[in-house]
Amino acid sequence: MANPLKCDLCAKPATVHLTQIVNSKIHKIDLCEACAQAKGVTDPSGFSLADLLLKASLNPEPAGDVRCESCGFTAQDFKKTGRFGCPACYQHFHGLLDPLLDTMHKGSEHTGKIPLRALARKTLCERLNRLETDLNQAIKAERFEDAARFRDEINQVKSSAGPKSGASHEN
């Protein structure tokens, strides 16, 4: 037989199972009776599942210790300050953030301005880095025909980027 569901907050057997639909997204949570009581779930005058989910993800047992790998910020820190530690936190804490965004904003996807110049610069930079790695590997492995091709490609990318960025300065 399958294990009975455990409470998301304290790992005791869960007897209260909740499903809430917020902005057409389904959020599920399982609680033991004591936790359900403590969180006011049995109080029909409204509670926020998003809030509960937030607390559930803070619990190291089911969700694991959520910590941003880039800056060391924890879910606990977010709970305390309402702010994140660094841009990468948005990837690490997306499970915690997504239900909050639904209530916070008009939509959950960006439809506004895009930093085109910065993104183009980044793509270019990444492409050059990749080509240079390829070039070095080719030289090491003595695949000189490949190396020549990579070198030409690098020169081509650099020269095609050159005049373009020059033109944008004039604008």
Partner: protein
């Protein structure tokens, strides 16, 4: 430019007095931006934060829009200087309280400001007197695009510009207008307006933002959501709501003139009397009296040219400006004397109210 030169030159907001901007005193837009792969100011260690600040300030100060402007670390400003910048709506209170590693860059004409290491690495702001969303958006959009040339922003295709607080996520935009709504206040309709505006997902605050009171019947109204809608959409939406509020205010004025002109003229006439003859005025009372004079200008009771004077006094009667004018630090009670003196001098020159436009 030095801080003292900047303080000595009048704020952008104290100038333009087009009658079109009668109800809307000021338009402001800010954008929240952050550097890619750097901890946000609230989480960065001091040394890192200072390094980020120097990098940002260098990039911002090099922009053509900031030519001959002011660029300073916040710790180089004294308390009074900071207060004056807050009273001119150039910097936030939060930036004043920043302990170290924050900075500010202000354009020479005081319309463009970039706060560095406030809640976000960059808070770009453009403000202008009057109802000017199109112009302000065009200016700030260009400023942001120019800055992007030199700085890699934290950006996600799905979530947009990444900000320290998820409430600013996406466009990072906060567009706001400062509105003078005396008739809605006098006729007790402001609660209704605030409720309606809140329901539309917008915020209403007092003159100095969060937590400040609405002395002078001045309110700041701004968008609250930033994700899921384009900048232009957000601005258009806000503009529509603000235009409706302007109409409501103008209707309320007409209604007051129709139903009880004596009460309205009494308020305006008394305000004039106190401003000409008062000896003790705190800033709240001064704001409320000035607000009535401004309403009088709009109704043709005082000359149109006086609107600019009142708008300037709204700012110059604030505690920081009063102390700066008197060149010293003064207790509130002493400031009330100084403020009343300043207003007496200012209003002695003003022609007496002409109530003849009154219908009855």
């Amino acid at each position: 430019m030095k801080i003292n030169e900047l303080i000595a030159s009048p704020s952008e907001l104290t100038d333009a007095a087009a009658s079109k901007g009668a109800v809307v005193l000021m338009t402001r837009i800010r954008l929240a931006r952050n550097l890619a792969a750097e901890p946000f100011p609230g989480w960065a260690k001091d040394a890192r934060k200072r390094e980020i600040r120097d990098r940002c300030m260098q990039a911002v100060a090099a922009l053509p829009q900031m030519k001959r402007g002011l660029a300073l670390p916040v710790e180089n400003l004294d308390e009074l200087q900071k207060q004056i910048l807050v009273e001119r709506h150039l910097i936030s209170r939060e930036l004043c309280h920043a302990k170290s590693g924050s900075g500010v860059v202000i354009s020479k004409d005081q319309t463009c400001v970039v706060m560095v290491n406030e809640e976000d690495h960059l808070r770009i702001q453009v403000l202008r007197a009057g109802f000017q969303f199109k112009k302000v958006w065009a200016t700030i959009n260009q400023l942001d695009t120019d800055l992007e040339e030199h700085i890699d922003y934290a950006f996600s295709p799905k979530l947009g510009y990444l900000s320290a607080c998820p409430t600013n996520l996406g466009t990072g935009i906060r567009a706001s207008a400062m509105m003078h709504l005396p008739a809605l206040v006098i006729s007790s309709q402001m609660d209704k307006v605030v409720r309606a505006v809140n329901q539309l997902g917008m915020a209403v605050r007092g003159l100095f933002g969060e937590g400040s009171d609405a002395s002078g019947s001045i309110f700041q109204i701004s968008n609250q959501t930033t994700l899921g809608e384009s900048e232009e959409g957000i601005i258009r939406h806000l503009h529509g709501v603000l235009s409706t509020i302007v109409d409501q205010e103008l209707n309320a004025r007409e209604k007051l003139l129709e139903t009880d002109p004596n009460k309205l003229f009494d308020k305006i006439g008394r305000a004039f009397g106190i401003l000409q003859n008062g000896w003790l005025l705190n800033s709240g009372e001064a704001m409320n009296l000035l607000s009535l004079i401004r309403l009088g200008v709009d109704l043709g009771i005082f000359a149109d040219t006086q609107r600019a004077v009142v708008d300037r006094l709204f700012i110059e009667c604030q505690p920081g400006h009063i102390q700066h004018a008197a060149q010293g630090a003064f207790e509130p009670a002493q400031r009330d004397v100084l403020r009343a003196g300043r207003l007496r001098a200012e209003f002695a020159k003003l022609a007496a109210p002409d109530f003849t436009p009154a219908p009855k």
